[in-house]
């Protein structure tokens, strides 16, 4: 589309993690690639996320956002490169990284309280303490009145709150969210965004959040990672640009500054996909 570059001064840069950031980073990727047989889904992804940072990932369908998140979660292994969380090489899923799935992934045979208590129970925490944790996080996501309901008795938005409460209650320092609000209506979605942002401020967790919505990214993120490529572009998925969003919270989506960031981000997304650099 060749959108003219706007007059905003926010920098667009490709992050260059150095060894010095490793120890400080909550999530650290260096030259990470992923192939499924002959298909190279991701190539040479380098990214460093600080503790307490809120990072959004945007990009066209098929550019490998989910694949990236699933590797950080430990569900899949990178084919090349280094992947560390809190200074430890990732070797499988673990309770230090809470995942919120787009389709919730709640246990249908457990109540809301049972789902939230699941993680703490696995850690062998005492009954009374588990009860306190469940009460606290039911309250945090506004579901105190629904603690004894089963997931199928709740709306999509409520189920997604349970899924978020479940990872928060497990004390996960890193939250990995793959289009968690994709299935929600606009109204529920914007209230969930505000709540999530508030929770993030209170709990001081690191969040990596995949979304298709540019507005959602500008509203939530400290930094937006734009991914490009994918099989449709004949080049493996990779990071095209990183855009810092230096707006104060609470952000007003109708403000001029907000829309300037949106335009900048859109321009970065619509830019011709660069050719992924060969791993080196």
């Amino acid at each position: 589309m060749g959108a003219p570059h706007s007059e905003t001064v926010v920098s667009t840069r490709v992050s260059e993690p150095s060894c010095a950031t490793t120890a400080l980073s909550a999530v650290y990727l260096d030259g990470v690639g992923k192939s499924y047989g002959a298909l190279e889904a991701l190539r040479s992804v380098s990214l460093s996320i600080s503790r307490g940072e809120f990072v959004c990932i945007v990009g066209a369908s098929g550019c490998g956002k989910s694949t990236l998140l699933r590797m950080i979660a430990g569900f899949e292994e990178p084919t090349t490169g280094t992947l560390m969380v809190d200074g430890q090489v990732v070797s499988g899923p673990g309770p230090d990284r809470g995942v919120v799935f787009q389709d919730y992934g709640l246990f249908p045979w457990l109540t809301v309280a049972g789902n939230i208590a699941y993680g703490p129970r696995r850690r062998g925490i005492g009954r009374a303490e588990v009860k306190a944790v469940v009460e606290r996080f039911c309250g945090v996501v506004g579901l105190a009145a629904f603690a004894d309901k089963y997931p199928h008795e709740l709306s999509g938005g409520m189920q997604q709150r349970v899924a978020i409460a479940r990872v928060l209650a497990n004390g996960s320092g890193v939250l990995l969210m793959d289009e968690p609000f994709g299935a929600l209506d606009a109204l529920t979605r914007s209230s969930m965004q505000a709540e999530l942002h508030q929770l993030w401020g209170e709990l001081n967790s690191t969040i990596l959040f995949v979304t298709h919505s540019v507005e959602e990214a500008v509203y939530l993120a400290d930094r937006v990672v734009v991914m490009t490529g994918g099989p449709r572009h004949d080049t493996p998925g990779h990071i095209g640009a990183t855009v810092a969003i230096d707006l104060k919270h609470p952000r007003d989506p109708t403000s001029a500054a907000f829309n300037a960031r949106k335009r900048e981000l859109l321009a970065a997304i619509e830019a011709e996909p660069t050719v992924a650099s060969t791993p080196g």
Binding site: F101, P108, W109
Partner: protein
């Protein structure tokens, strides 16, 4: 209101059938396929027999008031065979559903054995095990094992991978996945298999009891046949139907309690 309608709609047919039955017997109707109604007991005779079989004091023969004995004999055979089948089929089904290796090793053999109907096993079982209660239990076992096995395999295979991932990221140890995720997720399917199996069990126990045992509903109706007590045959049939119906109701009640109001996966 619609409940009342349902009852009103369902009620006439049994009365019409019983009326036709009564008239057919007294008029000695000859129906197609050589059905001679003269040989059928009247509804009243069957009703008397049902009462006598259950409580005694009407007919006073060897079968008077023996209902409980025969019910216990048949039910315990069904439950014993069913229990052994469940104990074998559930673990095997879980292993087959979880492991490609186990499935490849066992599945072909099962596919070969399964088409043999349980009734075709009867002669061999009677010779190998001998006449008696044991043979019947084994036949019930054979009838119950396949539905439980197949439903367990299907249920375990259908466990959503997403739930495994959710359990993993919440800190479930790999060995604990089995009882934390696989079994709870597959439970509705396993219980459905058990329900089907119990139904089959009641069918086969009657077949098994027709030879070599003196207790159980199957032996009652066979002995009644040999002594031409047609009223007892029909009474026995009615009680077999009732017992199967009651067992199925108990099983569905149990399933409802076990699953509470959770949805079936």
């Amino acid at each position: 209101m619609s409940r009342l309608r349902q009852v009103l709609l369902a009620l006439p047919l049994p009365f019409v059938l019983i009326g036709l039955w009564q008239v057919g017997v007294t008029q000695q109707w000859e129906l197609p396929l050589d059905i001679r109604m003269a040989n059928v007991p009247t509804p009243l005779a069957v009703l008397n027999r049902l009462r006598d079989f259950a409580f005694g004091g009407v007919i006073d023969d060897a079968f008077s008031g023996t209902f409980a004995t025969h019910l216990w004999a048949s039910a315990s055979r069904v439950l014993t065979g069913f229990t052994w089948a469940a104990l074998l089929a559930v673990p095997t089904g879980v292993a087959m559903g979880r492991s490609r290796l186990v499935s490849s090793a066992v599945e072909p053999t099962i596919s070969l054995l399964r088409p043999v109907p349980v009734t075709a096993w009867v002669p061999l079982v009677l010779i190998v095990i001998g006449l008696g209660s044991r043979a019947t239990v084994v036949l019930v076992f054979l009838a119950c094992v396949y539905p439980i096995l197949l439903n367990t395999i299907a249920g375990v295979k259908a466990v959503p991978p997403r739930l495994m991932e959710a359990a993993d990221m919440l800190g479930t140890k790999p060995v604990a996945r089995l009882w934390r995720v696989v079994l709870p997720a597959a439970l509705p399917s396993i219980l459905t298999g058990m329900r089907v199996a119990l139904g089959f069990g009641w069918v086969i126990v009657v077949v098994g009891e027709t030879v070599g045992v003196t207790t159980g509903f199957g032996s009652v109706i066979i002995e009644a046949q040999q002594t031409s007590k047609t009223d007892l045959i029909v009474a026995g049939m009615a009680f077999i139907g009732l017992a199967g119906f009651a067992t199925d109701k108990a099983m569905t009640g149990l399933i409802r309690v076990a699953l509470r109001d959770r949805p079936l996966l």
